[in-house]
Symmetry: C2
Subunit: 475 residues, 2 copies
């Protein structure tokens, strides 16, 4: 039987938490949807200490649950009820090791809070573009372990696209020194991308070399009123062609999303009145310019003018100030909270090819209406990335119980449709526990077999976040 006193020797007494009251905040996720009991919570203070803890766990066959800010949505950082696992928190690995403005890189430890990294980049006159709702408390280690998405993906890509190198502690407790700041390096397998998005099941990311970008000089924002999803896709095409890489936001939302926001938050206002306020779809468009306010505005209005003349957009509201721009973004960002007032919801974070969006929505809505007539669809998301939040709400037609009784059928119907359109059942949130058992239904069986082979090769004792993402016991 392993002795926790050995762990105390490795990291110090105050960083091995055993008391239930001390462990509690690590054992339950922030939404209270996943919880369990850990043997202990261990908080190493350096990569070397963390490696020593993993060595000890490896030797004794103790499961490890890596944890950053504990803000995930799929239960990837939660223990089970067995009290056998150690939660390994990276919170004390929180140093920014270096900022290099000539190389446009920074080296950060896994436990750095995303917002702290954004601010350090800004202080150096650069942009680190990863941005998401939890940025005040999530850590870069968790962002990378789950390949986080967010609002800047259209221009800068997902978390994996923002990384040049990694330091990783393997399942055997060895340190992989891969913190290269190189934009070109063709010397072997891409281990960096293998660890990114592996949800702590192959090793623990302890530090990363991140890419920095120039800060935009000016931004323009508009809300567009649209007759159809097809029109939104035409508008996206015009924006991609007209703005090139200056296109930094294209968010689609249904009319009922905006109406729910103003119902819920009376201080917010609908951007349109009259007939434009009756259209079914709206899009938030953003351009980020590297020249000047005047240039950004001229360019923005030229593309929107063309779109209006071609009949692609029915109406536009262009923000005239930073405050107006913030108000338009605030409408979009308030949708998830306002959604709660529409009743119980069944949520799906999915992606399909942009060219299939219209057909996917039309066909899937129709199938769900056939199952539950007059149910409410709440559809919004990052159209530019092909990522939709496709949610189904009880609305006024059904009670919570009536909806939940059909939850399984509805989700099956949605995921089957996603699969039919060659989409993904988890676009940006990952798999964790939440979708682990869905994965074998939709993932290519050869891909699943390769994933299992890699997991077994890199973690043969299955101690790294066991039971998350890939369930080896079910093979």
């Amino acid at each position: 039987m392993e002795q926790l006193s050995e762990l105390v020797q490795l990291v110090g007494e105050t960083h091995v938490l055993i008391e239930p009251a001390l462990k509690a905040q690590y054992e339950e996720d922030w939404r209270g949807r996943f919880s369990g009991v850990a043997k202990a919570v261990v908080r190493p203070g350096s990569t070397e200490e963390l490696a020593a803890v993993v060595c000890w766990c490896h030797e004794h066959g103790v499961p490890i649950i890596p944890q950053g800010g504990n803000t995930g949505l799929c239960g990837g950082a939660a223990p089970d009820d067995s009290a056998t696992a150690v939660i390994l928190s990276t919170e004390r690995l929180n140093k920014i090791r270096a900022v290099d403005t000539d190389n446009d890189t920074m080296v950060v430890e896994a436990g750095c809070v995303l917002q702290v990294i954004q601010e350090a980049a800004a202080e150096a006159g650069r942009l680190f573009p990863l941005s998401l709702a939890a940025e005040g408390s999530c850590t870069i280690g968790g962002n990378l372990a789950t390949n986080a998405g967010g609002t800047q993906v259209l221009r800068y890509g997902n978390a994996r696209d923002l990384v040049l190198g990694l330091e990783v502690v393997t399942a055997q407790g060895e340190i992989m020194h891969g913190l290269r700041g190189l934009r070109k390096d063709n010397t072997g397998y891409d281990l960096r991308n293998l660890f990114i998005g592996s949800e702590g099941t192959l090793g623990i990311i302890t530090a990363a070399t991140l890419k920095l970008f120039p800060q935009p000089v000016a931004q323009c924002t508009a809300m567009l009123a649209l007759e159809s999803v097809e029109a939104a896709i035409q508008m996206l095409n015009l924006a991609r062609q007209g703005f090139g890489p200056a296109l930094t936001g294209f968010e689609l939302m249904g009319r009922n999303c905006l109406e729910a926001v103003v119902d819920c938050y009376p201080e917010q206002r609908l951007p349109f009145q009259g007939p434009s306020a009756e259209l079914p779809w709206y899009a938030l468009l953003e351009l980020s310019d590297s020249e000047s306010e005047a240039h950004a505005r001229e360019r923005f209005e030229a593309v929107l003018g063309d779109a209006f003349e071609q009949g692609v957009v029915a109406d536009t509201v262009i923000a005239e100030s930073g405050a107006q721009s913030a108000a338009l973004w605030h409408l979009r960002e308030s949708i998830p909270l306002a959604e709660r007032t529409m009743g119980t919801g069944i949520k799906h974070d999915i992606s399909v090819p942009v060219s299939s969006f219209a057909a996917f929505i039309e066909q899937t809505n129709a199938k769900i209406q056939a199952l539950m007539p007059n149910i409410e669809h709440v559809i919004f998301g990052h159209l530019g990335d092909g990522n939709l939040h496709y949610n189904v709400m009880s609305g006024t037609a059904y009670t919570q119980d009536e909806l939940l009784a059909k939850e399984h059928d509805i989700s099956r119907l949605v995921y089957d449709a996603v699969h039919q359109f060659s989409g993904s059942i988890s676009a940006e949130h990952g798999v964790g526990l939440l979708k682990r058992d869905e994965l074998p239904l939709y993932k290519d069986p050869v891909e699943l077999k390769l994933m299992r082979a890699i997991k077994q090769a890199l973690d043969p004792k299955n101690i790294m976040n066991p039971g998350k993402l890939v369930d080896l016991s079910r093979e």
Copy 2:
């Protein structure tokens, strides 16, 4: 003993080449530096046929050498002398399966020639930006297997950054159906990036879903005269800040590179005269604009004007026409051929962090001069990507034999310096046979161990391009 007649049944008689005269062009690389003898060359006509061939090889333990356009520089597609391996050519998998302008993707088979793909994208009004010297004969399968670089990396990234999904035949002959056209998909390990850059040692890429981009509306090109490498890095910073993502080219070259070009090709001319023609460094700068010729020009001149006022650049020549722009690029692209007139060369395709370029060049040049006084340094490359071609030429001071006698010492000195500056000994050409035995000297041992574990997990019989990149026999 396996029967080749079984292969004939799988792909047809005309596509199993056994005659030496028919095999020859596949058995030697285009520069004549790597050659051997294959048991046969097999040319399947579909992914299913290719999978059947791999199944057969797997069953009989026959080594497979995947081959695209056979234009690699590191011997990755060459057989050894044992006549035991099958060269598996993808040349008949040459269909463009789909072009989707709404999703900005195209699906292409591995044997498609890069230039054919570029042209198909252009016909659809889009840009596929991968561009390199061999584009008229290299195939996308080879480009992806080696994660090719080229001249557009600064803006669009390496080959891996241009791919959304892959179809792969595994070492067991199973087909992985991963041709997703999604910009967001967080459902498991990143198998796509694992196969990209694995040089055919883990499986065979048979098709890919590629990203398409808007075509630029206008481009500006200039040659800059610079006092130092430090000044070049300052200029790169100004260009990154001023042009943002419109910066599409930043190539550095020493004065002797340009002089060699005009010596060799008298129809070409040096861009500068007088004192500017005596400066040690030159840079080719390119901007790609999504608006107009006038806008591109205005923006280009503003940034160059600032750079001149700040004393960062000593002199500039801005191309006044497409022909002048082509002439400036032609100077740059003629360097590798002109280099031959400077004597025998020892070449290194390396990268270091941009911020270390000046120190790397100064220190490494000094060490080489100490070893061989008055030897000629030929230094040029993609400064914006941190990728240099750092070559050492006999010049007039040494004979070919004198230089070659020191080849090992010089390369060791260069690679040691690269390692000291946290760089890469193969920035864009890969490892193959050429650098396989160098890799263990410089790669992190934990990374090497992980690479071997993955190779053994995915190809336990070691039939996929054995002996390339990772040498399992030497463990």
